[in-house]
Structure formats: C-alpha cells, structure tokens
C-alpha cells in the first residue's frame, strides 16, 4: 500500500475545495496542502451552476436586507449568526474572484452588473452571462495553478476516512488510472464533495454527485444535518433534468399552464405584471414555485408528455437580443436537448431535484463534530440555507465557507500533535482488505448495480419527493433497508485495476444508500411542513417543536438516531413568509 502525508487534505476539487486550497496557499505557503478529487477539478459540478452569485453591491441595498431575504427564504431554519457572517463576507469574495479574472458581466460604465433573483428583494446577483458556475470554477482552478504548494491527486476516489483517537487523520483512496490503493495521511481533512442529487431519478445534478463526502463523514461518526431539506428547482427540462436557470425568470420569463395562464397568481405569490417584480410571482422562492407547478399537475392544468406532466417557461417576449446576451446557455441547451428555440417557442419544464440544503453538520467555522474534520459547500450544512436555499446563495456559500474551512484547517494543523501512525496505517490496511475482498476479488454476486440504483431512485421520488407523508416515507425506508441487504450481493465482473468504473459505481451506490437513509428518516421525524419539506399529514409549520435542525447519527444497526439542535435566532424572530403582497 502506498502512503503519503500532508498537513491538510481536501476531498473534492469543486468551488469549495479549490477556494479552500487557495486560502491555505495564500495564508501560509509552508502548509502542505493536497487535494483528492475523483475527477479533474474543472469537471466538478460547480461548472453547471448558471444564474449567479448574490452579494450586496448597490447603494440601495444592505447586508441586513440580504440577511432577511435569506432567513425568510429558509423558512426561519437558517442560523442567523451564520447568515449574517455569510452576507457580510460574500461581497468581498465576489470581488476577489473579479481580481482573479472571473469574467463577470458588466454595466456600460464597466462596473459589475447585477440581476434580480428569486426571493431576493434587491438586485444583487452577480453573473457571468448564464455560465456563472463554469466561469467561477475555471477561474478558481486556473488561479490555483499559480500555487506550486497545492498538490493534487486527480481522478482519485476516496473510500474511507481514517479516524484515530477521535480525530480524523487522513483517507484511503483509489488512484483510478492504476487502481493503486493509497493511504493519505493528514492532520486536517476538508470535505468539499458537493451534493447527492443522484439519489433521485430526476435531478439537475451531474453523474458524480453521489454524496461521497456526506457518507464518508456519516460513517466516521460526524452527523448529517437537515437532510430532509431537499430542493426542487422549478425549471428542469423534462427528459434530461437539465437545469434552465432561474435567471430566465429574473430576466422576465413567465410560467404558464396549458391554458397560457400565469398560474403563480393562484398560489399567494402576487399578481402578474408585464415586467418582473422582486419577491413576487416568477421571482418567488424555489420551494413555493415548485410546489405551485406541482399543484397545476394535480389540478390537471398542465401538459402531459412522455416524461410526465410539464408547464411552460415562456421567454419569447424577451426578444432574441436579450436571450442571446443574457441567457445564451439557456438557448443552447434548449436547441440541443429539446430541439426548440426559446426565441420562438415556450420551454417545457418540470420541477427537478437540484440541491441539498442538508449536509455534514458544521459550525460557523466549517468544523464538524469530529476533530480534524471540516466541511464546506453543498456537502456541508452550516446552516445558511435552512429549509429552502435562495437561488444564487450557493456559489457564495462555496466561496465564503470554502475559505473559512481553509483558515480553520490551518488552525487545526497548528494545534495538532502527531497521531499514532501504526494505528492509522493498520486501519488503512483494513480498508484495503475490504476493497479487495468485497469488490476487486469478488465473484458470484447476483445484483446489478444499475438495477439497485434505479430502485433506490424510484423509492426516493415516490416516497420523499416534493410532498411526503408518513406512509410514503415508511415505504421508502423499508425499500432502502431491502436494497442495503441486496447491495451486499452485488455482481462485480470487472476485476481490472485500471480505471475500474464498475468499482467506483458500486462504492457510489453504497454512499447513496447511506445518504438516502438519512434523508428519509430525517423527513419521517419532522412532523411539520417547512420550506422544501412538505408533509401532507402535517401541513403546517410548527415552531413550537421544530424550530430546530435535525441531526442524524448513523447507528451500528437499524435506522439513524435523530436529535434536534435549536436554530440560532439573533435579530429576526420567526414570522410569516410573504411574497408578492
């Protein structure tokens, strides 16, 4: 077994991981930092973010207003100290990206341009046309190349956290090209592996979003927080689930049902106006807009297609020039994947799983409850997003908390003694044995990976989608139990070391089953409706019982143990979420 060691190891090479790496390299070039990523960093899913990143920019805006929008958007489940810190930091981070070369869209005078976004009362969303995530990721990746001190293990797949004496001391990982199993030791490990959308059948998420880091932390004893809070984006293309950015509505797009009617006015989201009004109608928050579209499905006022019901997103009145300059990727995606031109035709869309508000439980400094383990980005839950994230807050989150995780990791390294290397390496060899016996040398299994994955995804959608209830959740939980048992009998017929993607698919399935279980049980326990978590059997928000984060601990046997931690309320007492009135 090959071994190496670093001061800090970052798992995940997307926006949060790269931002952490740069922070570390800038703050202390003597700190030895390395990054493990299962894909080349510029392939990470940050690349798919489209609309923008919110940060107070205009004179008419204030940090307090960004805080209020985020808190009400979160249905008061976000921690207000974290949100205030976030809203203060984010303009500085976006400016830093500007200095690093991010091609932000501009006003005619050369200043940064901002656009409106859902649930935001002011125009504060910085954007690079509708490829903001792409530009942000490439800017970070290219900037990271400047620092020789950042070591990279590209296309290296983490399989287990090494924990010794209550502290995380590194990971075991497989180098995909050679199949070599490595023990990589570190005094601090940052999880920045993104989300887990692939536990659902219909998702905007990339193939790589399989909850790896969430599961690694969960298995190592760091709990997952608010996992029931699953965001559905209102506008995905029906077959592929490809995201059509919220910026399409921010620029003035309308949502229409099969009668050509702007139905959001029936869902307490305001009255239709020809041009967009902030925090109203199509600029409502994602949870409410997705629920409204689902309502149209149930009322039979939607179109029926081969991939389920859909409604229309109409951009035609914006004109070709605006679509081409502000939303070029929307047009490109529609032409390529739906064979329609939004300049001339409305876009068929349906709500699609998009984002996890939940994740590895961290404090405001990106620290998890395990010593030496930090987490940032979608993989983490600080929480600034609570029960519903506002569009354009996630790109900000990866920057602010990625940087914060880097800073905290340096402190951890400075305070850390040396671990018991013999014990750590013995653990690594155990993991090596598990990989060899259960996967690389395994013969005779009967279950296909793709079949179990499909069954898991269907169980999640039917039981734990936009609307949930006890019976559907119990059915999903039972199905997941069954799948977990069947996963022990996987058929692995690829025993090649070199770039074995059947091995990684099997390991990813294991991660997803763990994360799915945390989602379902957290949803089962929360007997209220709040934000993205809508229970048919408990349709009201219940602040008496559930103004609290769910925190799921993996149990040795059986379902996770769920406890609740109070939400941090500072200056904004819980109130009604008001949009469009």
């Amino acid at each position: 077994m090959e071994t190496s060691s670093h001061d800090i190891l970052i798992i995940g090479g997307g926006g949060a991981g790269l931002r952490a790496a740069i922070e570390i390299a800038e703050l202390d070039p003597k700190v030895d930092v390395a990054m493990v990523s299962k894909v080349y960093p510029m392939r990470s899913h940050t690349v798919s973010a489209e609309g923008g990143a919110a940060g107070v920019a205009g004179k008419d805006d204030s940090v307090d207003e960004h805080c209020y929008d985020t808190i009400s958007g979160s249905d008061w489940l976000g921690d207000q100290d974290a949100i205030e810190f976030f809203c203060n930091e984010i303009p500085k981070e976006l400016l830093r990206l500007e200095h690093w070369g991010c091609p932000w869209s501009r006003e005619p005078d050369g200043r940064i341009a901002v656009r409106p976004f859902g649930g935001m009362k002011k125009m504060r969303t910085w954007f690079a046309a509708d490829k903001t995530g792409f530009h942000l990721l490439h800017t970070l990746f290219q900037t990271s190349l400047k620092y020789a001190t950042i070591a990279r293990y590209d296309e290296t797949f983490a399989t287990r956290l090494l924990v010794e004496d209550g502290a995380v001391r590194g990971v075991v990982a497989i180098e995909l090209r050679t199949g070599k199993i490595r023990a990589i030791q570190a005094k601090a490990v940052i999880i920045a592996t993104g989300g887990c959308g692939r536990v659902f059948p219909f998702t905007t998420n990339a193939n790589i979003c399989t909850g790896d880091g969430m599961a690694l932390a969960y298995r190592a004893g760091a709990p997952l927080k608010d996992m029931e809070m699953v965001q559905y984006h209102p506008t995905g293309l029906p077959f592929t689930g490809i995201l059509i950015t919220e910026a399409a509505r921010a620029e003035g797009g309308w949502l229409l049902n099969k009668d050509g009617y702007r139905f959001l006015q029936d869902y307490d989201l305001g009255k239709p106006t020809p041009t967009p009004v902030l925090r109203s109608m199509e600029l409502g928050p994602r949870d409410r807009v997705s629920q409204a579209i689902f309502g149209e499905f149930e009322k039979g006022r939607a179109f029926h297609g081969p991939y389920g019901d859909y409604v229309h997103l109409d951009l035609r009145h914006l004109g070709e020039h605006k679509i081409e300059t502000r939303l070029p990727m929307v047009r490109e995606l529609c032409l390529k994947y739906e064979n329609i031109d939004p300049v001339r035709e409305p876009i068929p869309i349906r709500p699609v799983q998009h984002y996890m508000m939940g994740g590895v439980h961290t404090d405001i400094n990106a620290r998890t409850s395990l010593n030496g383990l930090l987490a940032a980005g979608e993989a983490a839950c600080v929480s600034i997003n609570g029960a519903n994230r506002l569009g354009s807050n996630s790109l900000g989150e990866i920057l602010v908390f990625g940087a914060r995780a880097g800073r905290s990791a340096i402190e951890t390294v400075r305070a850390s003694g040396s671990g018991n290397e013999t014990a750590i390496l013995a653990q690594a060899r155990d993991e090596e044995r598990r990989l060899e016996e259960n996967f690389l040398h395994k013969t005779g299994g009967a279950e296909r990976i793709a079949k179990l994955r499909d069954e898991m995804q269907r169980a999640m959608e039917s039981g734990c989608g936009i609307y949930r209830e006890r019976n559907s959740l119990v059915a999903s939980a039972n199905k997941l139990r069954e799948l977990r048992e069947r996963a022990a009998n996987l058929a692995i017929d690829d025993h090649t070391r070199t770039f074995n993607t059947q091995l990684t698919a099997a390991l990813e399935l294991g991660y997803m089953l763990d994360v799915a279980e945390a989602i379902v049980h957290s949803a089962l326990d929360r007997e209220e409706s709040r934000g993205a978590h809508q229970r048919r059997d408990f349709p009201k928000r219940d602040d008496q019982k559930y103004l609290a984060h769910s925190v799921a601990h993996q149990a040795a046997e059986g379902p996770p143990r769920i406890e609740y931690h109070p939400v941090v309320i500072t200056r904004w007492p819980p109130g009604e979420r008001v949009y469009g009135r």
Partner: protein, 246 residues
C-alpha cells in the same frame, strides 16, 4: 426505421490486451438519446466493465469527448439519431495515450494548461478597493476565449499536435490569449515563451480543424494566429525597449 442501432465501441484493457479492438453492442435508438445515453445503456445493462468518462451530461464539464465515426465529439450533446441507421464507431480521442477503453491520459494537457500561466498577472501589485473597471467591449474582446471547457477535442483534431506532442496546442494557446487580452492582466510578456519555446505554433496553418470541432464555438485557430502577431510585435519591442530584454 429500426428501433435499435449498433455501437462499435473501442475496447482496450492494458492488463490483458496487446492492442485495442472494437466490440459491437446493439442499443435502443430513441429520438432524444445522445451517444452517451447509448454508452450508458451498455454499461448499465450489457457490460459493466466498459470504461468511459462522463459527468454533467449538459455539455459544460468537458469529460465525455470521444471519436465518433472518426470525428472528435462531445458525446453528451450529440444525438445518436444523427448516425442512423448505423453502425456508429466510438473510440478514444486521437493523439492521446489510451488508459483503458474510451479513457485517455490527459496528463500532458493538464501540464500544458499550467505552463501558459492561466491566471491574472499583475506587475504593479495594484488591487483596487472595488472591481477593476472593464467595459463591455473590453470583456467582449476576450470573452469567447474564456468559454473553453477543456474537453480537448481540439487536440484530437489538431494535425500538428498529432505529429509533435511538444506543440502546446489549441486550447492552451487560446487560454493564454484569453488572459493576454483581459484588461486586468499584465502578464503578456511572461506568456511569450509559449511561442518562442514551442516551435509548433509556427507550424500551425490556418486550417482550423480545432475551431471546427470546438463544441463551444471558441476559435482557437484565431487565437493562434493572433498570438503569432502578438509574439512578433513583442519580439520587435524587445529590441526597441531595454526593459523587454530580460
């Protein structure tokens, strides 16, 4: 029309095969399926050992470039129907060493990206308290060159790179050019050695295979020709201005 199509897929397992071969699979031919959907059908239903890279399936992560019927292609955004009635031949990108099946070794490309110093270089240490002022026209001057997704299709198409792997290549030059043209950058002199040390650029003609295959309509060929011009100008300047000599 038949409702299936034959995919002839390159197979190469370095642990057991002396050389690559093609294996045929019959996959459903559905109107909205991309070539990548066909490959995933093979992996999920027929042969789980097939190795290929993919991720975003929306043409932005740059992972799934392959040779489809001999043309460098992003498989997630190319309809299988375009190749009906088939068969369709899918192979690893040309000009790169093959790791396994459809997976190629990108080390050389990654090293080249770093070589062109693709970050904002400031000689004056100036950091404005706010943003750098950059007019929409200044942004436009480099914008298209910032759209490269690093899919490396242009390398697979480039006849010069095919002959001389030392050639720094279309995407890396386009990226260098992108920073040179950015009003916030002052690193143009630092990036001159890209052309002076890598002879390949002068062998590149205006054939523009790279620009033809680019799925994001970046024009690396234009970048290369403009870069030559920049390099020549800077080279002359180095004789006129003593500062440029070292």
């Amino acid at each position: 029309m038949s409702d299936t199509i034959i995919l002839e897929v390159a197979r190469f397992n370095p642990e057991s095969d002396a050389e690559p071969s093609y294996e045929s699979f019959e996959v459903p031919l559905r109107p909205d399926w991309m070539v990548l959907d066909g490959l995933n059908h093979i992996k999920d239903q027929l042969d789980g050992s097939l190795a290929f890279r993919w991720s975003c399936r929306m043409g932005i992560c740059g992972s799934c470039g392959m040779m489809v019927n001999g043309v460098p292609t992003l498989t997630c955004e190319t309809l299988l129907m375009n190749y009906a009635p088939g068969p369709v031949r899918v192979g690893p990108l040309d000009h790169f060493p093959v790791v396994r099946d459809l997976v190629v070794d990108l080390d050389d490309f990654l090293a080249k990206l770093q070589k062109v110093r693709p970050w904002v270089v400031r000689k004056d240490d100036f950091k404005p308290a706010r943003e750098f002022i950059q007019s929409p026209a200044q942004l436009e001057s480099f914008h298209q060159f910032s759209l490269c997704i690093n899919c490396t299709l242009c390398y697979a198409a480039c006849p010069v790179y095919g002959l001389d792997p030392n050639f720094i290549g279309p995407a890396a030059i386009a990226l260098a050019h992108r920073y040179n043209l950015d009003s916030r950058d002052q690193g143009i002199e630092d990036r001159l050695d890209i052309v002076s040390r890598h002879e390949g650029i002068w062998d590149c003609t205006v054939v523009g295979e790279c620009s033809t295959v680019c799925p994001k309509h970046v024009d690396p060929s234009l970048a290369i020709q403009q870069y030559k011009l920049t390099a020549t100008k800077e080279w002359f300047k180095s004789f006129l201005l003593p500062r440029g000599k070292h």
